[in-house]
């Protein structure tokens, strides 16, 4: 967040492109956020209990988790397509008057 713009100017001679690092870093954050939300969502669907009587994932939970990952990923693709379809308009129109 800090070295954008001004940052590239103050880059050391070691020839690091902070632009590039920045982009990779944002990508990493996005994947991590996606992953964390998938963990929570699939826990709610497959593992959540009102009381935990043991610490193992039983067979049913394991199968549920595996399918949940696949399904979550499909939802991500589908929503991505929807957003892309109207993305330009949406993004251009944002900024809510700032």
């Amino acid at each position: 967040m800090s070295f954008l713009g001004g940052g590239s100017r103050s880059a050391p001679s070691g020839s690091i492109s902070f632009e590039k690092i920045e982009m990779a870093s944002t990508e990493l954050d996005t994947v991590t956020d996606f992953f964390n939300r998938m963990v929570s969502s699939c826990h709610a669907k497959c593992v959540a209990a009102r009381f935990y009587t043991d610490g193992e994932l039983n067979k049913g939970e394991q199968v549920c988790i595996d399918r949940c990952v696949g399904k979550y990923n499909e939802v991500q693709k589908k929503v991505g397509e929807k957003i892309q379809a109207k993305g330009q308009a949406q993004q251009g129109g944002s900024g809510f008057g700032l």
Binding site: M1, L4, G5, G6, E22, T26, D29, T30, D33, F34, R37, S40, S41, A44, K45, C46, V63, C64, D66, R67, C68, V69, G70, K71, Y72, E74, V75, Q76, K78, V79, G80, K82, I83, K86, Q90, Q91, G93, S94, G95, F96, G97, L98
Partner: protein
């Protein structure tokens, strides 16, 4: 927001900061819609593919979220404009 107190170099920098934040916000909105629509629509874990019922639900859910966000954005911008006007009086 008003960035008129900034010099040109600062405004240029600020533009970059804003662009970056808009990108992050956009990605956050994206993963939020995925999470919310998945939670509401997906309840059948007998297969890993979306059932056609789930598919319909997710599509509509995403569509509605986008329209909802857009509408809130418009209203919010109006409100901010009103508040800025009120301040200048």
């Amino acid at each position: 927001m008003d960035f008129s107190g900034m010099n040109q170099a600062e405004q240029a920098h600020m533009t970059k900061v804003i662009e970056k934040k808009q990108m992050q916000d956009f990605l956050k909105m994206y993963s939020n819609i995925v999470e919310k629509c998945f939670s509401t629509c997906c309840n059948d874990f007998t297969s890993k593919a979306l059932t056609s019922k789930e598919d319909t639900c997710v599509t509509n859910c995403a569509e509605k979220w986008l329209k909802h966000s857009e509408r809130i954005g418009t209203r919010f911008a109006e409100l901010n404009a009103e508040m800025m006007e009120a301040q200048q009086k």
